[in-house]
């Protein structure tokens, strides 16, 4: 007990000192934490009648509770925050949502979890963070809630209602379930349908390349299209890569890596460790190819991340690129985009790796120090319901429920088919505790390769050596570095 207490005290103090350091050294967030009074849960008996589960009944003991959550400031979270008012009306449980930029949402959660303040009752986090949360004992397994008949909605059957591969990669770790997908994401091909269908452009393309313009299924075809439409004098570009030193670069390159038949490690699931193959010949070829696309990208492409290329696409300045499912909503929204209705979406082109995509997503997770874990579970379970998922999806979300994609209103979206097709072939990425550090190493080396400071081989060899050293005995290098 003493040890536990002293460890907790140490961690609290460290968390506090770090928070202080963060504030003193950076002092740039501009967002103040609010400490709202936290009402005590209402006491009383369970309101549900035996055999009949109702949300109101299950939530009765927690009426008056305020749940605090944190996530990335994007349309899916805004949609969730709006839906939460319905939940409050039904249950009397209020949900306050803090929204931050991607990295800040992750940092704030790390500080909160390690200081054991328990500020957040549930958190929304990218799945690459899962391993370090689980291995450091920061998350509650949700199985205990799912097995509790007082909490479990009998109509909630995630084993049947979710894309199983996505759920098990995004929200499971070492065979245990820690949450549910807030968004099931992947990347695929975006291109300008209006230009693609323009007879003049098609004729010009055929005259130049000797074959009919078609949706690219190989990287050769992708390059041909990029080269054909690359018109820098008109400020129009064939493609745009996310070359900034930012995790966006790593995410984008993974599409090429997988497609060329490479991977980072030889593993079957994200939660396992295995031999390092990030410097395989396939990986080097993928990086060489990725680099070649700079020639058909805007001049500033090495300082662009997802927001920048998204803005370019919305302004109608790019012909094709690879982009995220949850950004598609914004490019098809006429209020935000000049190319709404002019876009088409498809699978990423293929190489040795065949049809492939990447599994990514944010999860609903409940911290060990959550002050209201049961109420948080009730909210999450409610959000995973079909109607909420459909509404969230139509407002910029990316649901993990297949039945949402079968709904006519969702099916009618121009990007639904591409999402489902890519989900079916998407591959996992590491979620082990070291995975964020692996990302950092690769982002640095990929950036050095793109700038020409290193060759693709040199950059990936360095990354492989650093990854192997970081992971230790479980991750020998399959392609040793000289």
């Amino acid at each position: 007990m003493d040890t536990l207490l002293s460890t907790r005290f140490r961690r609290r103090w460290r968390g506090g000192a770090l928070a202080l350091s963060l504030v003193l050294t950076l002092a740039c967030s501009g967002k103040k934490d609010r400490e709202a009074p936290r009402p005590e849960p209402a006491t009383g008996s369970q309101a549900a009648r035996p055999g009949v589960w109702t949300l109101e009944g299950a939530a009765a003991p927690y009426r008056g509770v305020t749940l605090r959550a944190i996530g990335e400031s994007l349309p899916p979270l805004e949609a969730m925050a709006k839906l939460a008012t319905q939940f409050e009306q039904q249950t009397g449980i209020k949900v306050e949502v803090e929204m931050y930029e991607h990295s800040e949402a992750v940092s704030k959660v790390m500080l909160d979890l390690n200081s054991h303040r328990g500020r957040y009752d549930f958190i929304l986090q990218p799945h690459r963070e899962l391993g370090r949360f689980v291995k450091n004992g920061h998350l509650k397994e949700v199985k205990s809630f799912m097995d509790n008949p007082a909490l479990r909605d009998p109509s909630f059957k995630p084993e049947e209602q979710l894309f199983q591969r996505q759920w098990k990669e995004i929200s499971w770790y070492d065979g245990k379930v820690y949450g549910f997908p807030f968004t099931a994401l992947t990347m695929y091909l975006w291109y300008r349908k209006d230009l693609f269908e323009d007879p003049k452009e098609r004729a010009g393309f055929k005259a130049k390349y000797g074959y009919e313009m078609k949706v690219p299924t190989t990287w050769k075809e992708y390059t041909d299209l990029a080269a054909f439409f690359h018109r820098p004098s008109e400020r129009f570009y064939g493609t745009a890569i996310q070359g900034k030193r930012h995790e966006a670069l790593w995410y984008e390159w993974l599409n090429f890596l997988y497609s060329f038949g490479g991977d980072m490690m030889e593993t079957q699931t994200g939660s396992s460790c295995g031999p390092i193959i990030v410097n395989s010949p396939e990986a080097v070829a993928s990086l060489d190819y990725y680099k070649s696309l700079i020639a058909y990208s805007p001049p500033d492409t090495l300082n662009y991340f997802w927001d920048d290329v998204m803005a370019l696409m919305q302004q109608g300045k790019v012909f094709e690129l690879l982009m995220w499912t949850d950004a598609t909503y914004a490019v098809e929204d006429p209020k935000q985009s000049k190319v709404s209705g002019k876009m088409a979406f498809d699978l990423t082109p293929q190489d040795k790796g065949g049809k492939v995509g990447q599994i990514e997503g944010w999860s609903y997770l409940i911290p060990t120090d959550s002050k209201n874990p049961e109420a948080a579970y009730l909210f999450i379970q409610w959000m995973m319901g079909f109607e909420r998922q459909r509404t969230q999806h139509l407002n910029g979300g990316s649901s993990a429920r297949p039945d949402v994609y079968a709904d006519p209103s969702v099916k009618a979206l121009s990007y639904s088919k591409a999402s489902v097709d890519t989900f079916a072939v998407a591959r996992p990425k590491p979620t082990i505790p070291e995975s964020p550090q692996i990302t950092e190493i690769l982002v640095r080396e990929l950036s050095l390769a793109l700038t020409g400071k290193k060759t693709s081989k040199e950059a990936l060899d360095t990354a492989a050596a650093e990854m192997s050293k970081l992971l230790g005995a479980c991750a020998p290098m399959k392609y040793p570095v000289n």
Binding site: R132, P232, R235, H246, K453
Partner: protein
């Protein structure tokens, strides 16, 4: 001589050694917010604490982290070199430009205040905002500065400063110069205006030219002020974070990865807090060494000048 009663009482309190008592609250505050975290950082640097990796719960590892920094971390030393380059170039140009602008303003009698107010505007903008302004101006598509650099043929159509590893650092330096030259100007101008008039009038009477006066009188008389500004700007530039973070995030590649950015990355991206503490401590140590060397150089020159 008889003091009034109240003054005599206060004098007695001070005489009895009560003075330090009144300084105690301020000292305590200083200990809590400066000395405490500093000592804690040093203590952390001898541990393996990581928020990312399990079983790295702050065990004592001796000098392992220091060894790793010195022998196995080329990225840290790359950042160190980049930081030195940034400090020397940016602060050097700021000093020269700031001095020249101050000289012009000191001799300008009409509307000096109005011009000075205009000159000071960049200094008053928050560094994050300066970063955002710089990013917009240098944006490769529609950035105003990019447009003119291309229009004048200084930069190619397919070049963008923040994406080019050879130009990104220049862009960062350029923006730092824009922001901080006014500070140098302000302090230099205050120094120039406070110089005694008589020696200058005597020099003019003796037939000294403008350059001669500048070289043999203005500069030597301003030496303490120049030293102070140089010291303040160097320390500040060494800690530069906000602008670079916004402009390039340390990229492309590692072209603009200053020590502060690297230290942030180790601490708040990798959550490798034991090693991050070593990086932070090294930054402190380097600044301390630079300051003391610099201070000694300045004070030795002053002593030599006094002789």
């Amino acid at each position: 001589m008889a003091y009034p009663r109240s003054r005599r009482a206060s004098a007695l309190v001070l005489d009895r050694g009560m003075g330090p008592l009144f300084v105690t609250p301020a000292l305590l505050l200083l200990v809590v917010i400066v000395v405490g975290p500093f000592l804690y950082t040093i203590a952390l640097s001898f541990t393996d604490l990581s928020y990312a990796l399990p079983d790295h719960d702050g065990h004592f590892v001796g000098f392992d982290n220091y060894r790793r920094l010195v022998r196995e971390d080329p990225v840290f030393w790359g950042s160190f070199k980049a930081t030195l380059r940034f400090v020397f170039v940016a602060v050097g140009i700021e000093m020269i430009l700031g001095f020249l602008i101050a000289l012009v303003l000191a001799n300008q009698l009409v509307r000096r205040r109005f011009v000075l107010t205009l000159v000071l505007v960049p200094m008053m903008i928050a560094p994050v905002a300066v970063g955002l302004i710089g990013k917009l101006m240098l944006q490769g598509e529609f950035g105003m500065l990019t447009y003119y650099l291309r229009w004048f043929g200084i930069m190619g159509e397919q070049t963008a400063m923040l994406s080019d590893p050879d130009l990104a650092m220049r862009a960062v330096v350029l923006i730092d110069i824009w922001q901080w030259t006014p500070f140098v100007t302000l302090v230099m101008l205050a120094g120039m205006l406070s110089l005694p008039r008589e020696p200058f009038e005597a020099a003019i009477m003796d037939g000294a030219g403008r350059l001669r006066i500048l070289w043999d009188m203005t500069l030597p008389l301003l030496r303490p002020i120049i030293g102070l500004v140089l010291l303040l700007r160097s320390i500040d530039a060494f800690k530069e974070f906000d602008k670079v973070f916004i402009l390039t995030g340390g990229g492309p590649g590692t072209a603009t990865e200053l020590l502060s950015i690297y230290t942030w990355r180790v601490n708040f991206r990798d959550w490798d807090l034991g090693y991050g503490a070593v990086c932070a401590f090294m930054v402190y140590l380097i600044v301390l060494i630079l300051c003391s060397v610099f201070y000694k150089v300045i004070s030795r020159r002053d002593r030599m000048a006094d002789r």
